[in-house]
């Protein structure tokens, strides 16, 4: 009995104090109003593949879809393979930057023999380049190193405990296609390919090499935010000609250019929401992407803030996309 009375007294005290507190200031929580946009947009499931350039694309498009078209954008941090898998059951709608991936196209795109859950949504305007890179200090000191014919001359510089008598050539992210083992063999280079194993490990390697002026050569690609921090220089391999990389064992030429494109789920394309029109209309340059990527990676801005900053600075480009999507 006594216990219960104590409870009642406490409850009364507490309620009064709560009322007093809530009365004496602070904003109370009110429900938001319906967004005022013309056409209904609904949910957009945006895959975010694990590199910063991709994040830049995703958040610029996503920010516009949310603020100008009234969509609800769900960002999903996923790998390429998992993202494409998600097209089938609607958990992923958009892959905003795709690097080729013939093997995934063959699985999911009708015209490539797949199940038809994925469709192409046009180019992003970014040109992907894959190749062999060295830190800039090396080019200053050994200007002819950018020609592959001279690599053997410098192989000794690149010796490490990982490669014995040969020079170490670093490969990076296991997600990227490489021909480097075949290239080293077919070009008779005195190098051994060592797998750094992740983009992070590779970037750390290049960063340290430039800072401490130590030799380093490895596989890299652009557009990439890191090139704004350390402008790596590409080594010229024998020129790429269509078909020269047909047999992966006999490759002796540079990587092909990768025109990056957007891929969406066929459900999303068929629904034909304004968000789909926006995704289709979205194109920009490598410099644009590098700038937003730099905001995110180097200036440590929140991706949405970075996107907003660029959008505010580039009304012309943005308005062109938006008018295609049917918004002002």
């Amino acid at each position: 009995m006594r216990v219960r009375r104590t409870h009642a007294v406490l409850a009364a005290l507490a309620t009064t104090s709560a009322l007093a507190l809530s009365a004496c200031g602070g904003d109370s929580i009110e429900n938001a109003k319906e967004p005022t946009s013309g056409k209904d947009c609904g949910d957009v499931n945006m895959a975010v593949n694990p590199w910063v350039g991709y994040e830049a694309d995703a958040h610029v498009v996503g920010y516009l879809a949310e603020t100008k078209l009234g969509c609800k954008v769900n960002y999903k941090d996923l790998d390429e393979q998992v993202s494409w898998k998600g097209f089938g059951n609607g958990s992923v709608d958009v892959v905003i930057e795709n690097w080729g991936h013939p093997e995934l196209q063959a699985k999911y795109m009708t015209d490539k023999g797949g199940d038809g859950t994925a469709v192409d949504a046009g180019l992003t305007g970014n040109d992907g380049v894959i190749g062999w890179y060295v830190p800039p200090w090396m080019v200053d000191k050994y200007p002819d190193i950018t020609d592959w014919n001279n690599l053997n001359k410098y192989a000794d510089l690149f010796k490490t405990s990982e490669s014995g008598d040969l020079g170490t050539f670093y490969d990076g992210d296991p997600g990227f296609v490489t021909n480097d083992e075949a290239l080293v063999k077919n070009l008779n280079l005195n190098f051994k390919v060592v797998y750094a194993g992740s983009e992070d490990a590779l970037i750390e390697g290049f960063r340290k090499a430039e800072q401490n002026k130590t030799p380093f050569i490895g596989y890299f690609y652009e557009p990439q935010w890191f090139l704004a921090e350390v402008p790596l220089v590409k080594v010229d391999l024998p020129k790429y000609t269509p078909g020269c990389d047909a047999d992966p064992e006999k490759v002796a030429c540079d990587y092909p250019p990768y025109p990056l494109n957007k891929v969406v789920s066929s459900k999303f394309a068929d629904a034909d929401s304004p968000a789909y029109e926006l995704v289709k209309a979205f194109t920009w340059t490598n410099d644009d992407q590098n700038l937003v990527a730099k905001y995110i990676a180097q200036d440590q801005m929140d991706p949405d803030d970075a996107a907003k900053k660029w959008i505010d600075d580039n009304p012309d480009k943005v308005n062109a996309w938006l008018s295609a999507a049917g918004a002002s």
Binding site: L21, I29, K76, V82, Y195, A201, Q211, N212
Partner: protein, 685 residues
Amino acid sequence: MTVAAPTTTSVADARARAGAVSAFREHARLWALLAVVVVWVLIWSVMQGKYTLEISTSTRTDVHTWLQHLADDISAASDTNGFVSALNSFADALNSAFEWLQNIFTVAKFPRPLPEIGWLGTIAIAAWVTFAAAGWRSVCLVVPAFLAFGFLGYWTDSVDTLLLVGVSVAIACLVGIPLCVWMGRSRVVTAIVTPVLDVMQTMPSFVYLLPFVVFFGIGTAAAIMVTLVYATPPVVRIGAHAIRSVNREVLEATTSLGQNQRQRLVKVELPLAKRTIIVGVNQTIMAALAMVTIAAYIDSPGLGQPVLDGLKRGQFGTSFVAGVAIVIMAVMLDRTTTAASVRSEQAKRAGESRLRLRRITLGAGLVVTLVLVYLSNTQVWANEFPSHPDLGTPLRDAVDRFADWMRSDVSNLTTSIQSGFTDHFLNPVQSLIADSPWFVTGTAIVLIATIVGGIRAFVATVLCLAGIYFLDLWYNAMVTLTSVLVATAVVVALAVVVGVAMGRNLTTDRVLRPFLDAGQTIPPFVPLIPVLILFGANRFTAMVAGVIYAAPVAIKLVADGIRSVSRETIEAAESSGSNRWQIISKVQLPMARGSVLLAANQGLLYVLSMVVIGGMVGAGALGFDVVKGFRQADYIGRGLAAGITIVLLGIMLDRITTYGAARAGASTNAGRTRPFLRRAPRSAP
């Protein structure tokens, strides 16, 4: 010594003889091992580089293609398969349950702009629950911990992680506790379940991430299921052990009192095993937390995401701050569950008046909690975590500056350490193991296993090596095996040195233990970055990462073993004139031998679990194959083969060390440990 001598002459004689026999056996074994190694080196010196079964990184053999087709078929069948659609609806239910939880604590549900209960209400609920379950002291830990999550800038992510861990652990217990009771009762069930648990704990998560996405869709459900694979085994193993070790006589007494099976379980076995089962739950919680970063690879909400963000953006500080939040959470959960298990005992013994006082405080606390929840529901300030003070940003910047300093001023020195160690130690050992013809290395491993662990180790080793051979990744397996063995050797050395220091001195223990806790619970990706900065991408870096992850567990085991050597034994040895070094080497370490062997076994398995992460920082070999299988559709088959190979390596090493430890334990009991135990009471007066 002089006091005891006259009375124990004959005993000493007998002991000396027994000691001589066991010493001879031990020496024979050492000589045999040495002979195997010498022959191995001789053959290696003439045949190195031949029959190594090395294949290039991009090669896929028939076995790999077959596995690839198998995976594709399962994935393709999943669209029509009834089993998979059942899994899908289960996943949907789990997803909506989790979404409901998130709408309460972390994610706003339209049209409401903020979640139902914000930070103030969440902390109030956490504090009240902690008070009810674990007492005041724990509340004093939980509240600052929650505030720290917010001040570090990761309020939402932290609460998401807590929800995820909570749901996972609840499911793990729901499945695990009945299972462990069953295992405790039946040897057959134990024999069937144990290998499954072994595979669950040693299979690299990257191997099953993709299949789980196929089965459970992209979303929290898949993340929870991935977490469960790794987190369920501890509660099952430890729980089964607890049930099994309930005193037989107590059980017989209750049966004779006429209790039936169910009564016996509920009234006797579970209460008696409760404390140990809670230890299992505690381990399950820690394992669930360890999966936070891995689960983030398939879009799990929570603290894993900022860790990965930091990695991909090259921001060490970001990863570090999120890692600190995870460590705080781990310490908080660990201490609270431990306190709760102690409390459950005390509560039974508490008097009537204390009980009433407790009820009143609980009631009052509940009222205050409800008020705070109400405020948090209606007021913006009590819902959104305040953005000041911001501890995260300064900490992040400081860490980034520190990283810069390491890169420019320290890394030249550390790089030379790395290359020295690799050239003079790692490379020769690797060359012996991996560059010998496969049948030579295979035979040598089997012989060593047999000498160390006897016939059972022989059988296990032959089977595992045969499996590895057929999976076509022999060379990579041997490279990985080398790194694992060398790293484990370092771990054991560290464990003995630091463990002895901690076991002998309580102050050392108190100073070091928080660091060990942090090392054990921080996501491995976080310490990886400074190690990368210092040593570059290579096998050494991967080994250091493995050592950092495995050493804390091993050190703690050795320290506890040393501490449990009785005071009297040591005093006896001191009074017989032994100096400090003699006490350590002749008394404490031999008597803690069981703990040291357990530390070696656990160290091995922990190092092995870092193989995949090692592959991401330059170790190549099996770890790289596994990650590549996850990232590239064409290499799923090879990745799967690499994953199974890692499991086989793990089971092989575990069996060799376990059976070896059992044999060594037997011989020490006869030879060394007992005499000290027996002598102690006699010369102590």
